[in-house]
Each structure stands twice: as C-alpha cells, then as structure tokens.
C-alpha cells in the first residue's frame, strides 16, 4: 500500500538513499561502533589481567583469599569478552545465543564442580594403598 519513498516520515531513522535491496542484504556499516567496542574491551581486559597478575605475586590481600579473588577477576574478564568481543547482547536476534550460553555454562559447572566434589570425596574415603591388609579383623 505504500513504499519507503512515498512516506519518508515513517522511516526517519533509515537510510536516505532509496536503493533496491534484496531480502537478507547486509549493508556496510561504519566501523566506529566496532572499534569503540574493541577499545573498551581491551581496556577492561588489561585492567583485570594486570590486577590478576599483581594479586597473584603479592601479599596485598589475605593470602588464603587470593584464589577466590583470582577466580572473581577471571569471571569478570570472561564477561567483558562475552559482551565486548563476542557481542552477546539482550537484543532480539541474540535470544537463542543467550539461552545456549546459559545451557553451556550449566553443563560446564556440572562437569567441573561435580568432578571436584566426587573425586575429593573418593580421595578422603578411599583406603590407603599400603594398609589394606592391616585393616582386616
């Protein structure tokens, strides 16, 4: 009933050039948005990485807390990478990616936490190899 050329006010945010487009066309974008994302991602990553390396080699914090602090820094940096480098967003074209990511994270946690838990339990409860005979009544 209408086309973009006849009702420009409907498409005020769209391009002003009225070319022919095929469905699925992917127009060239300006690089500025991507470069700014890259700069932000690099900046955050450098801060978090340097913090992790400094923390590991120093006694700035209570020593037994260092592993937890390192893991927190690592998870923060993974988040930075996901957002700024891998472009995981809340946008409508990203719903499936976010759901898949959530499932992947769940599987990873099951594997890692489950393995550590089970193997630690076995390690505590297994009979020492040297004394099985003495334990017999």
């Amino acid at each position: 009933m209408s086309n973009p050329a006849s009702e420009p006010h409907l498409y005020s945010g769209a391009s002003h050039g009225q070319h022919d487009h095929a469905p699925g066309d992917e127009p060239a974008e300006s690089a500025g948005h991507w470069v700014r994302n890259a700069n932000l991602g690099l900046g955050f990553s450098i801060v978090l990485t340097v913090a992790a390396f400094l923390l590991a080699g120093s006694h700035l914090v209570y020593p037994p807390a260092i592993p937890v602090a390192l893991i927190v820094l690592a998870i923060a940096q993974m988040g930075v990478h996901l957002v700024f480098f891998l472009h995981i967003t809340t946008g409508p074209d990203n719903t499936n990616n976010v759901l898949a990511l959530a499932f992947g994270i769940m599987v990873v946690f099951l594997i890692v936490i489950g393995s550590i838990w089970i193997m630690d339990n076995l390690n505590r409860n297994m009979m020492p190899m040297e004394q099985p005979m003495e334990m017999q009544p």
């Binding site: 009933m1 391009s15 487009h21 992917e26 991507w34 690592a74 891998l86 074209d93 499936n96 898949a100």
Partner: protein
Amino acid sequence: MSDVGLPASVEALRRVREDPHRLGHRAHGPTEPIEGAGHGATGPAHKRIVVGYGFWIYLLSDIVLFSCFFAAFAVQRGATAGGPTLAQIVDIRRVGFETAALLLSSYTCMLSFAATNARNRLWTEIFLLVTGLLGLVFVLLELQEFIELAGQGITPQRSGMLTSFFGLVGLHGLHVTAGGLWLATMMAQVLVKGFRPEIVHRLICFNLFWHALDIVWIGIFTIVYLMGINA
C-alpha cells in the same frame, strides 16, 4: 506498510542508528517483530544470524570439552607423585607475555572485524595478519615452555598433575594453531574472493572462534598458572 516488511538493509541501518551499542533497548522501536531476527512472524532469520548461532553452538561444545580438561586438572593438581610441583615449573614472566600476545591478538581480530563491516579489504587483511603474527608468538612461547620442561625430564608421563597440565595447555595450543591455519585461509579467501556474503559469514565465525580461545586462556592462566604459583 501494513503487510509489507521493510527491506532488510533499511531495517538494519535503522537498528544501527537507534541502538548503536546493540543493547536491544529501542525506546522508539516498532512493536511488531523485527525483520530477520527469526521470531517467526516475519519469516526466517537472516543467514548471518543462523550461521552465527550454529557456530556459537559449536563453540559451546568446545568449551564443554575444555571444561572436562579443566576438571581433570583441578582433580589432579596435587598428584605430583614426588615429581616437581606446579610452582616449580611455572615461569610467570612467559605466561605474562603469552597473555599479552593473545589479548592483543583478540583486539586486532576485533579491529579486522570492524574493517570487514566497513568492507575495507586492505585493513581487514592488515589486522588479520597482525592477529596471526601475535597468535604465532603465543604458540612459539608455549612451544618454548614445553621444550624447556621436556629438557628437564618434565614430561606428561612423569605424574598425574603433569599429564593434565600438558593436556589442558596443549589442547589450547592446538586450538590456537588450528585457528592460525584458518586465519591464513581466510586471508587468502578475502584476497581472492572479496567480501561475498559467505566469506563475511566465515569471517564472523573465525572472530567468534578466536575470541572464544582467549576466553579459555583466561581460565588457563588464572587456574593453572596464577593459582599454581600460589598453591
């Protein structure tokens, strides 16, 4: 405009303008489903989105594979069998250089993607080349580490900890090496074929792969190396 969808590229340009950060917050956006996002009402998703999603599934399966190696390392980290401990074999300066090389290569990879989106062939090639060289530096540093350790008789068969250490770090190194081969292929394809849609889709997948490798390395340098020298 009741039953006629917008041309895809007009819609894409409007989305770039209204939502420059891709946050999905579009205060003035339409209430109808967005063309090409694959939500059913407007037909199938764009090929670009489908390809990215498929590769994302592969990456997640790859990360699950790495999580198995991480789990094995976490379980075996104390199993030195009288051999050297992790704190004795880690050269933290080299790990720092490796981390810097991989992080910078992630950055230049992203810049090459920006050049791809602007359809600039020269800068795409330049940034891909820098990415590949930084990846090469990373692989060479890791090889140097492995050769030095092997020279001291520290090999995977020495103890359970070393098996899982070489397995995890070596698997990541293999991924970076394969990624480097892929990168060289992409440089040749961009040179010969230009920015045809399927080439751009391959570049998108390569970018996702390279950044995912950096995410895995974050886990490695934190859990293996930094926590290793502290243990």
